[in-house]
């Protein structure tokens, strides 16, 4: 169902001392696609860094690079705008072949392979049998989206949502073994499993309706279209979700990445608000 989303995304980095030569790369400008039309947006960066030229990376994400050479002890970027979401407006596209192969953070491990084998055999079978009960004809084999949904439910069941146990470098295999993590870990594990099933899949960073922090979910590709699924909530990522950027895994598309000179501890405050 179509929605008009109003979004606000504010991040403040505070440094315990002055830092210099701060280079950053932002991927917070939302994707502008037929199913997610960006009606308007503003992005402000403080301290304001040089000319703001918006580029696109190899995954099609908008990127805003910059450099603050002078000493500063905080850095803030604020995004706000309006988007029109309607998934019925998606247009078919090809999935880049690299979305079918394990990426650095989604490498298979023996545990993941075992889990995949068990879940796919049992889960797909059960779903098939259930469908068969209500039909006299032979039920067709499960399609990619149906398989992904089964895997999504299993991932959701496997994990206990636990902030602070994992970090941005945690791999799918590590998070899976710990069975604890946050949205990023759920997404990585689901991506690893989908790719084992031969389903092209990608990592999505974005926002969703309500207040809080940024979110991550998964898109799988079937018959020319990308379908959003959210393993953290075990539900489709529908028009309540606003996509910022995509990649093979988190490392391809962090919303913000930066390096600076100076011995300083960094703390981060993020506030997001999306309403329809």
């Amino acid at each position: 169902m179509h929605r008009e989303l109003s979004f606000y995304f504010d991040t403040v980095l505070n440094f315990s001392g002055p830092v210099t030569e701060h280079n950053f790369l932002l991927r917070c400008i939302p994707a502008d696609t037929p199913e997610q039309k960006i009606l308007s947006y503003t992005l402000t960066v403080f301290p304001d860094a040089s000319a703001a030229r918006i580029g696109k990376d190899s995954f099609g994400n908008f990127v805003r690079a910059g450099r603050v050479a002078e000493a500063h002890d905080s850095f803030r970027y604020t995004l706000q705008g309006m988007a029109y979401r309607d998934d019925s407006l998606r247009v078919p596209e090809e999935a880049a072949p690299f979305y079918r192969y394990a990426s650095p953070l989604t490498q298979p491990t023996p545990e993941l392979a075992e889990f995949f084998a068990a879940q796919s055999a049992a889960g797909w079978c059960a779903a098939q049998q259930q469908a068969q009960q209500f039909s006299e004809n032979n039920v067709p084999a499960l399609n990619a989206l149906e398989k992904a949904k089964i895997l999504c439910a299993k991932v959701h069941e496997h994990f206990t949502y636990t902030p602070g146990e994992t970090n941005v470098m945690t791999t799918a295999g590590e998070a899976f073994a710990a069975a604890k993590g946050v949205c990023q870990d759920y997404a990585h594990v689901l991506i690893a499993l989908c790719r084992m099933a031969g389903i092209p899949s990608r990592y999505v960073s974005g926002l969703f309706t309500g207040e809080g922090a940024s979110h991550a979910w998964v898109e799988i590709w079937m018959g020319g279209l990308w379908y959003g699924i959210d393993p953290t909530h075990d539900c489709p990522a529908d028009e309540k979700y606003l996509k910022l950027c995509v990649g093979r895994d988190y490392a391809d598309c962090p919303i913000e990445r930066g390096v600076f000179s100076g011995w300083a501890e960094q703390t981060q405050n993020v506030f997001t608000k999306v309403t329809d």
């Binding site: 040089s50 030229r53 995954f59 880049a96 192969y101 390096v259």
Partner: protein, 436 residues
């Protein structure tokens, strides 16, 4: 020649003074080692070199087209000439480079192609090095020193002058330069090839810089001069892909230039060699190079690959497993002479282990016939002994593709070893292209 040989000690002392050293990391420690020079040159008759030249130009031309294709239309994959997984599972394939077109469409500006000559007199390609091949500076400085010690040798022998390498490099950099100065970007003093970085900068008239000397602003790369920053138009970076830009690749890299990839992507700087080239010099992709030559150029490959089997293909796997004791098995993910195993050197148990590993992960390996290559004479304690040697030919791609009329001849000092890599303790020779 006698005068030249009599100066072995002096030349090596001079090389040491110039800092011609090879640094290696072993067990977490950085050690510097002299790179021993053997004054007996490898001589290649000019007419043989002409064949090599044609073959190398052909090969590098096809490899450049392949890299472009992989990061754009992927026709060679769609047409099933190269299986998709050899591309996308290659550690050298970088999705972050998809869709980027480098200045003048050149990817492999400096290619180091390793060859050996068999007892049958045929040259075989051992591997392609398209990332940041090192080594040209060694024969370059050695030649200069040899000429100084023994000028007469070079009057008596008609040897093609190789001292134009700096000029060739400059020409290559100038051709792709997008406006600005030429810079050689080194990770610094503790890099294995630091001598080379500084020497080539001097020879090519480029500025030698480390990461703290360079920055990116507004998608443009600049060099700090202390006064107004100067724009950089061509960056010959001797930092590997993964450490080149901490905002695009390995985030913990302290030797990279943040947002270099943004400047490169925008077409505002030429990066030499292009990031992502590793997809084409992967040991698994090597097998397909002759196929690339016919696919892109419609020609037969002039230079031969060593006979290679891909356990990925069932037929080749069977051959590999049946003949493992006479083959050399290479792990496609390793480089620098690591991950190379000669079947005949294994115990029965190790052989079975390797066979199982190959069965479980066939794509990880290639198998090659052991080439019976010509030994070269070297001087050891005043005596001439025969040792295994290879040749790294340097091919420079700019407006045209040119082969440097020389090359780095590396030899194994261990009489039983086929591995000549400098990181494995070998020495080097000058390579003469001799006019008849």
């Amino acid at each position: 020649m006698k005068t030249l040989l009599a100066h072995t000690k002096e030349i090596n002392e001079q090389l040491a003074r110039y800092g011609v050293k090879f640094g290696i990391y072993k067990e977490g420690r950085f050690n510097e080692r002299l790179f021993p020079f053997d004054p007996v040159p490898r001589q290649i008759p000019e007419k043989d070199f002409e064949v090599l030249e044609k073959g190398l130009i052909q090969r590098v031309t096809a490899l450049n087209k392949f890299i472009y294709d992989i990061y754009h239309d992927k026709k060679i994959v769609r047409d099933n000439v190269v299986p998709e997984e050899f591309v996308y599972r290659s550690p050298g394939y970088l999705a972050q480079c998809e869709g980027i077109t480098p200045s003048k469409n050149v990817y492999s500006h400096i290619s180091g192609i390793d060859l050996v000559i068999g007892k049958d007199g045929v040259w075989y390609i051992l591997e392609d090095n398209l990332r940041i091949p090192s080594g040209a500076s060694y024969p370059l400085i050695a030649r200069t020193l040899c000429r100084r010690c023994s000028p007469d040798t070079f009057k008596r022998h008609r040897v093609r002058d190789n001292r134009n390498y700096g000029a060739l490099l400059k020409r290559t950099m100038d051709y792709v330069n997008t406006g600005g100065i030429n810079v050689i970007f080194t990770p610094g003093r503790y890099n294995a090839a630091y001598f080379e970085h500084s020497y080539l900068a001097e020879q090519a008239g480029a500025v030698l810089a480390e990461s703290s000397d360079l920055f990116v602003e507004d998608q443009t790369l600049y060099y700090h001069t202390g006064r107004d920053p100067v724009r950089v138009g061509a960056l010959y970076r001797r930092v590997s892909d993964e450490y080149m830009d901490p905002l695009c690749f390995e985030p913990s890299s302290l030797i990279g230039i943040p947002n270099l990839m943004e400047a490169y992507r925008a077409g505002n700087v030429a990066v030499i060699n292009a990031p992502g080239n590793g997809v084409a010099d992967d040991k698994g992709i090597y097998y397909f190079v002759p196929k690339m030559i016919s696919y892109y150029l419609g020609e037969e490959a002039i230079l031969k690959n060593a006979p290679t089997y891909l356990p990925y293909y069932e037929e080749d796997r069977k051959y590999t497993l049946d003949n493992i004791d006479k083959l050399v098995i290479k792990d496609v993910a390793e480089a620098g002479g690591y991950g190379v195993v000669f079947g005949e050197n294994l115990t029965q148990e190790q052989r079975e282990d390797l066979k199982n590993t190959i069965k479980n992960a066939p794509r990880r390996f290639i198998a090659q016939e052991v080439i019976d290559f010509q030994d070269l004479p070297i001087l050891e304690n005043g005596e001439t002994v025969e040792r295994k040697a290879d040749l790294r030919a340097f091919v420079l791609s700019g407006e045209d593709v040119q082969v440097w009329p020389s090359g780095l001849t590396r030899f194994s000092r261990n009489p039983d070893s086929f591995v000549v890599n400098s990181s494995q303790g070998g020495g080097f020779k000058d390579t003469w292209i001799v006019c008849q």
